[in-house]
């Protein structure tokens, strides 16, 4: 069967006749009658009639409902990222933040959730459903199962959004701040400082059930078709192979997240033990699968549309078939490549790396086959309308995003990339330039069929394409540049260097361009619905209908839409010979890369998963991540217990073993001139690393690389590298740029230093605060906590109240003095803890002078132990709404006294 064989859309989407002898159940009759009553009333209003196509068959109606819902979630998701990026840019430019940390990270979470599942996946389900039914000439059945699936998907979006209070006081602060994916036990009551509402987990379950129901509906219809056409069909159309792959991958992938979410729900209510590592592995079977489920949008678009516009069959059907089969088999097996830095068995990391390289093969087949399908098409036979332009963008975008995949997949390289904006860039190259571009190609090719009208404005579609390509290209580029700068993903707090600030501002500009570009599309959709020319399809094949619809996006259509007779001249053996030659090259290259990278991969993954045998004289660091700060226990040449401070000697070997109490964290020492240290730290598991400390004494920042709640930005520790012998100045450290890592705190002289606390509760927007230098003798510097810095994000004033001025009222009632002491503390390297040299009460609104006479040595200044904080706006936190509490350490730094 080719796409030309398909039945006309009218017959395809006709209502199913009900046999007279078989009445539907009463509940179905009730639903039908209710729907009809609502439909007939709303259909009288032109707006509803046009937008929801209320005078059409139920399959068209539900598809339009899904399209409208997906556009709605897309718009909301765009506002989410607009909110996030503008706040991050505000931080970069030193401006006030108008959203709380909780709200900012919620924006990011909901952006991911709404875009991936409310927008992209729902659009995929809608389009695949209608195209499948239309192309196969199916009579859709089980209407209410389909409606239920759509209801559950959209209900899940509402549940995942979290609760809000309407009264006694409106409060919408309980949006989830978890990330589009979440690492159990983040958010689970009793196990995590940040607790999400259980609605979050119920939302995941509703999403799973809804999407699996859709896949079951599709499968039932496919099996119906298969049974009724057995023996008559020689080939399933290539694009349908990938629709089928989607239908198979959905239950396989969603079953795992259904299991992990159910497990989380049990844990949330205190039933049964939690195994965070097993839960994460389970989740990532889905986390990886869903990306490929969405990636099948552009793949299906290529296989469906390129042959139609090239007016010739696909280059090699057997190659396409092989690609579909390999995609389907390998996709569920790759979850571990998202967990390379967790303590998984080394063989599983290596095996996943090898399998992930193998999944390049179906992509390589697909893109070679699609490209070759166009070979031989003459200049005048092809038209660059919105459909083909977006296909071209998707083709380039898949190259840009897909070819960075092998970088991620190389475990030893992944250590440098894993938690940086590189990943965000890679993901958005795939999500936008590949998936969304392919999705727009399908929408431009299919929407007129739903609307019953041709596209209204070719100019708007051109403007949409150009502005979208510019916006998305710039967005991906500047995400990558931020990654090259060394910026962690999900960072709200980051070093304010010129390059970082400039890249962040440009990123926000391109986010705004990307969002604005979609206004052209929305305008064209609305104009099409209300003013578009009616689409007539009598006597046209499906391919001709698609060309006719696409042609309406070209201002001067010049290529006839009619099918032309195609006579195959190049024999299959020659075409398949080229395919085989290409795949042979790919396989040889994969083997070569695997051989070259395996030793380091096995070495690194072994290091993460098993304790090493460090050389004599090593420093042993036992780390516990308490969600927002590190507890440090040291043995070796340096003995002691510290918070957020690790003390080693220059060039010394350092053996780390680390775990977490609370959510999963990440121990990250992004030396740019030494191998990066980056390991995930998981509750109930132990992670290891052995590294050599820098040879240059100084203060090296160790940000928590794994997002673990709304205050994760404050969670930065410091590796204090002491000179091997005697006092040493920081001159060499400064001249080499702190070994190249921009996270290292700035260095300034203590004399005259005036440290100001910002609204995030940090000294000079930096955590740790600036490293102060002084010579032995009297040392003096100043702190200042402005009253204007006190707000919902400043954890120093731990007061929640219905009164927005509650924090300042508390201060006034307590003489602007908080129950903590700032000070200078000597690092005792031979046992014990920090030794106070001088301390003073922490006061808000007055300049505090810190003065002491100090011998050469390294000191910690500020508030050197974590303080408790509760985020409870309006006092309405409960276990049902979610809550946030923890211990945070933000105003501190290192004082370096040397001759």
């Amino acid at each position: 069967m080719s796409t030309n064989d398909a039945a006309s859309p009218e017959s395809a989407v006709a209502e199913q006749p009900v046999p007279v002898f078989e009445k539907p159940p009463a509940v179905i009759r009730f639903f039908d009658a209710t729907e009809e009553a609502i439909r007939s009333r709303l259909a009288k209003l032109t707006f509803f009639q046009r937008v929801f196509q209320l005078d059409r068959d139920w399959m068209t109606r539900i598809t339009m409902l899904m399209v409208v819902a997906s556009v709605f979630w897309g718009i909301v998701g765009a506002f989410d990222i607009f909110g996030f990026e503008t706040q991050v840019t505000a931080f970069a430019l030193g401006q006030s933040l108008h959203l709380s940390n909780q709200e900012i990270y919620s924006s990011l979470t909901l952006h991911g959730i709404r875009m991936l599942f409310g927008f992209a996946q729902q659009l995929e389900l809608a389009l695949f459903g209608i195209i499948f039914v239309t192309a196969f000439g199916l009579v859709p059945r089980h209407k209410w199962a389909y409606y239920l699936s759509v209801l559950l998907v959209n209900l899940s979006m509402v549940l995942l959004e979290g609760p809000f209070y309407l009264f006694p006081q409106f409060n919408d602060n309980y949006f989830p701040a978890l990330g589009w994916y979440f690492y159990s036990p983040l958010g689970i009551r009793g196990l995590s400082s940040y607790i999400a509402s259980p609605l979050w987990y119920f939302g995941w379950i509703a999403l799973c059930v809804g999407v699996i129901l859709w896949a079951a509906w599709m499968l039932i219809h496919f099996l119906d078709w298969w049974r009724s056409h057995r023996g008559q069909v020689r080939r399933i159309p290539p694009f349908a192979l990938f629709v089928l792959a989607t239908v198979i991958l959905i239950p396989v992938s969603y079953a795992t997240v259904l299991a992990s979410s159910a497990w989380d729900v049990f844990n949330y209510f205190g039933v049964g033990p939690v195994d965070p590592l097993a839960n994460q592995v389970l989740f990532w079977f889905f986390g990886h699968g869903v990306v490929y489920i969405l990636f099948l949008i552009p793949i299906t678009a290529f296989y469906f549309l390129v042959p139609i516009f090239a007016k010739r069959p696909i280059y090699s059907y057997r190659a396409a078939f092989a690609a579909a089969v390999i995609f389907t088999i390998l996709t569920p097996l790759l979850s571990i490549h998202h967990l390379y830095l967790t303590p998984v068995p080394p063989w599983s990391a290596w095996l996943t790396m090898a399998l992930t390289f193998l999944i390049i093969i179906p992509s390589a087949i697909t893109f070679f086959t699609i490209w070759m399908t166009t070979k031989g098409v003459k200049k005048g036979e092809w038209q660059w309308n919105a459909v083909t332009l977006f296909l071209l963008l998707s083709f380039a975008g898949t190259m840009a995003g897909g070819l960075t995949g092998p970088d991620n997949n190389t475990l030893a390289f992944d250590i440098d990339l894993h938690n940086t904006m590189f990943i965000v860039s890679h993901f958005h190259a795939i999500a936008l330039l590949s998936i969304a571009a392919g999705g727009f190609a399908v929408v431009y090719a299919a929407f007129p069929l739903l609307a019953g009208r041709l596209w209204y404005s070719p100019r708007l579609s051109q403007a949409h394409f150009v502005s979208t390509a510019i916006g998305w290209g710039g967005l991906v580029l500047f995400m990558d540049l931020l990654g090259s700068d060394g910026i962690l993903r999900r960072s709200l707090i980051f070093p304010l260097t010129n390059a970082v600030v400039a890249d962040q501002v440009w990123l926000t500009v391109f986010v705004i361009v990307s969002i604005s570009a979609q206004l052209f599309f929305v305008a064209n959709v609305l104009l099409t619905l209300f003013r578009g020319e009616l689409l007539t399809v009598q006597g046209l094949s499906l391919d001709e209908i698609v060309r006719k619809m696409a042609q309406s996006t070209h201002p001067k259509p010049s290529v006839p839409i009619s099918d032309s007779k195609f006579v195959r001249r190049t024999p299959r053996s020659r075409r398949e010979g080229a395919e085989r030659g290409w795949i042979t090259v790919v396989v040889v290259l994969i083997v070569g890369v695997l051989v070259a990278t395996s030793p380091l991969t096995l070495s690194d993954s072994t290091t993460i998963g098993t304790p090493s045998d460090p050389p004599a004289g090593s420093e042993y660091l036992s780390l516990v991540n308490y969600q927002y700060y590190w507890g440090v226990q040291e043995s070796g040449p340096v003995h002691g217990s510290f918070s957020d401070v690790m003390v080693v000697h220059a060039g010394q070997w350092v053996a780390v073993n680390a775990t977490a109490e609370g959510a999963t964290g990440g121990f990250y020492l992004p030396f740019r001139n030494l191998p990066t240290v980056d390991i995930q730290v998981i509750p109930d598991a132990m992670s290891y690393w052995l590294f050599q400390a820098p040879s240059v004494p100084g203060v090296y920042a160790a940000p928590d690389s794994e997002y673990n709640g709304p205050w994760f930005g404050q969670d930065v520790a410091a590796l204090v590298v002491l000179p091997t012998t005697g006092p040493s100045s920081l001159a060499e450290y400064q001249s080499s740029g702190g070994e190249g890592d921009i996270y290292n705190p700035p260095v300034m002289g203590a004399s005259g230093a005036f440290l100001i606390v910002d609204q995030e509760g940090l000294f000079d927007n930096s955590v740790p605060g600036p490293t102060l230098t002084a010579t032995p003798g009297p040392v003096s510097f100043q702190y200042y906590i402005p009253r204007s810095s006190i707000g919902i994000d400043n954890y120093l004033v731990n007061v929640t109240s219905n009164d927005p001025n509650g924090q300042l009222d508390y201060l006034a009632a307590h003489n602007y003095t908080l129950p903590y002491r700032l000070g200078i503390y000597a690092i005792n390297t031979t046992g014990g803890n920090l030794v106070p040299v001088t301390t003073m009460p922490l006061r808000v609104g007055s300049v505090m002078n810190e003065t002491a006479t100090l011998p050469a040595g390294v000191y910690v200044y500020g508030l050197t132990s974590p303080i408790p904080y509760v985020y409870n706006p309006a006092g309405q936190s409960t276990w049902m709404t979610g809550s946030e509490e923890g211990e945070i350490m933000g105003i501190w730094g290192i004082l370096w006294v040397s001759p």
Partner: protein
Amino acid sequence: MGNPVGEPMRAAESVERGITPFVWFGVAIIVGAAFALFMGLSYYNTPTFTTAALPTIAGVTVAVVAFLVIGAWAPSND
């Protein structure tokens, strides 16, 4: 904006001009691949780049070149 659509073909506009879609898609491959290689190479100054990253980046580069060469050599879809 709002030009009429679906109008009959005008013979004068069906004159062939520009480059073929095969070439345009080839350009798309080059642009996309160049971007991907740029992303990887931007980490050239990391200390483990030669051992950890270079084999993969070199493999991707060779693959892109082979893709273009084999594609150019392969018989057309006629």
